[in-house]
């Protein structure tokens, strides 16, 4: 195994679950995350020499996952034969069961927000990223992210106020 392969495999081992989680939380049906995961790490492998060092490589993977997700929404992701078994497992493992009203209400509220609001909120709440990290993933200025996050939190609060079960 040469150094590029070793680095690629190390990145895959370190971040595969986090990237799979990121994708599965944002794609429908959730098992499509298998193909998207394959796409993200294929891109990383293809561009291994261009990948940044240190923690920036993790943020680079999130940025790539975001682009792959956007392409998928445009219908341009192909199913790979390599991911067939993983897809099957995810289809069973991540099957949506009846979620509590509270969780459904949050998802409804989230769906009512704009894409930029949704993106900064979920990167902060679900991926536990700081504004500086979100800025790297989205290719924005950290100050812009902080402002966008503050605004998005206000929007989330009012959206949740209209989607909570108690007010129905």
């Amino acid at each position: 195994m040469n150094a590029a392969e070793a680095r690629s495999e190390a990145l895959y081992r370190l971040h595969r679950t986090a990237i799979l989680g990121y994708l599965a939380r944002r794609v429908e049906p959730r098992e499509d995350a298998a193909d998207l995961l394959s796409e993200v790490f294929t891109t990383a492998w293809r561009r291994i020499d261009a990948l940044p060092d240190g923690d920036d490589a993790r943020l680079w993977l999130y940025g790539t996952a975001r682009n792959v997700l956007a392409n998928h929404r445009r219908g341009s992701t192909r199913r790979a034969s390599l991911t067939a078994r993983l897809r099957e497992h995810l289809a069973v493992r991540l099957q949506r069961v009846d979620e509590p009203d509270g969780v459904t209400a949050v998802h409804e509220a989230l769906a009512g927000l704009s894409e930029p609001d949704r993106e900064v909120l979920t990167l902060s709440a679900w991926e536990q990223m700081t504004p500086a990290e979100i800025a790297v993933v989205l290719g924005l200025n950290p100050a812009t992210v902080r402002a966008r996050l503050a605004r998005a939190r206000v929007h989330l609060r009012s959206a949740l106020a209209t989607h909570t079960p108690a007010t129905r």
Binding site: N2, A3, A4, E5, A6, R7, S8, E9, A10, Y12, R13, L14, H15, R16, T17, A18, L20, G21, A24, R25, R30, F41, T42, W45, R46, D49, D53, G54, D55, A57, R58, L82, T83, R85, L86, H89, L90, R93, L94, G102, V103, V106, H107, L110, L121, T122, S124, A125, W126, E127, Q128, M129, T130, R153, L156, R157, L160, A161, T164, A166
Partner: protein, 291 residues
């Protein structure tokens, strides 16, 4: 229903699913991800076989072009020989022009610090253990940091997730909580943390998440509830191998150290409880010295 922004954000956080830790705890998924990883890398090795589960696929080898019964190269009907000759001549001219352009540009556009031939070789992944021990490796300390005689661990090692799995065994989190926020902070390629700090973070994280759940469900003021919860949790002692501070240890080094950890140092007061609770907020803040 009146919610503050923080409460709304906390509700969003609990609606994350699937949690990374749940995915990481699934051994079948782990095996399938290993399989996919092997396939992804093998698929792009120039001449290597591709393994998917028990099956092995070998790349196609070069086969000579099919010839017609008359021995000539089959070509679409209606295309004359002179057209084929012209096309071949034009293609050759284009290739030669391309080669000339490449050779002429060589050395002009290439950045001076990149060699003309040979790919860059990224570093190999680091092992979990560094062989470095002691507080001296940390250099000067900042406020809130600590270091001891234990070994420094590479946070970018592919062995780290497995090590964290072993440390998490036996610790439980409240329903809906995951280890994700801690792992995101701990997996840091290029950084090191001492093994004691690593274990301390795992335990402190479990305590914090459980304390928050306890405070949210039990009656009484938050301060009293935190006190009750924290007082239930006794400190623990770590006995670890220790090399000479700041120097590489030798195999069979007999040095050992003992360290007792407290979630709250000194008497449990309102101030110390407040300090502990504020350190429980997410995104998670690591304990120890990150180097």
């Amino acid at each position: 229903m009146d919610l503050t922004e923080d409460e709304a954000f906390a509700r969003l956080r609990t609606a994350a699913g699937p949690a990374d830790a749940d995915l990481a705890a699934d051994p079948v998924l782990d095996g399938l991800l290993d399989e996919l990883g092997a396939g992804l890398t093998s698929a792009r090795r120039p001449f290597g076989p591709l393994r998917i589960g028990p099956r092995t696929f070998r790349p196609r080898t070069f086969r000579p072009r099919r010839v017609s019964r008359t021995g000539g190269v089959r070509r679409p009907s209606g295309i004359g020989r002179h057209v084929m000759v012209f096309a071949a001549a034009a293609a050759t001219a284009l290739v030669l022009l391309g080669c000339y352009a490449v050779l002429r540009d060589d050395g002009v556009r290439r950045p001076p610090d990149r060699p003309a031939t040979g790919a860059t070789t990224p570093p190999a992944p680091p092992p979990l253990k560094t062989g470095l021990y002691g507080a001296a490796v940390a250099g000067s300390m900042r406020a809130g940091e600590f270091a001891d005689a234990s070994e420094w661990i590479n946070l970018g090692s592919p062995e780290l997730p497995g090590f964290l799995d072993s440390q998490q065994r036996g610790l439980t989190l409240p329903p809906g909580e995951s280890w994700g926020p801690l792992r995101v902070r701990l997996i840091r390629p290029g950084k090191r943390l001492q093994i004691t700090a690593l274990i301390f973070n795992v335990r402190r994280y479990a305590l914090c998440r459980n304390a928050a759940a306890y405070v949210a469900t039990e009656p009484g003021s938050a301060r009293t509830r935190y006190r009750l919860f924290i007082e239930k949790n006794t400190p623990w002692t770590v006995v670890g191998a220790s090399g000479p501070a700041g120097r590489k240890s030798r195999p069979g080094d007999p040095g050992h150290f003992t360290r007792t950890f407290h979630f709250i140092q000194g008497p449990v007061t309102d101030t110390s409880i407040r300090a502990f609770a504020s350190g429980c907020n997410l995104p998670w803040t690591l304990s120890g010295a990150l180097r």
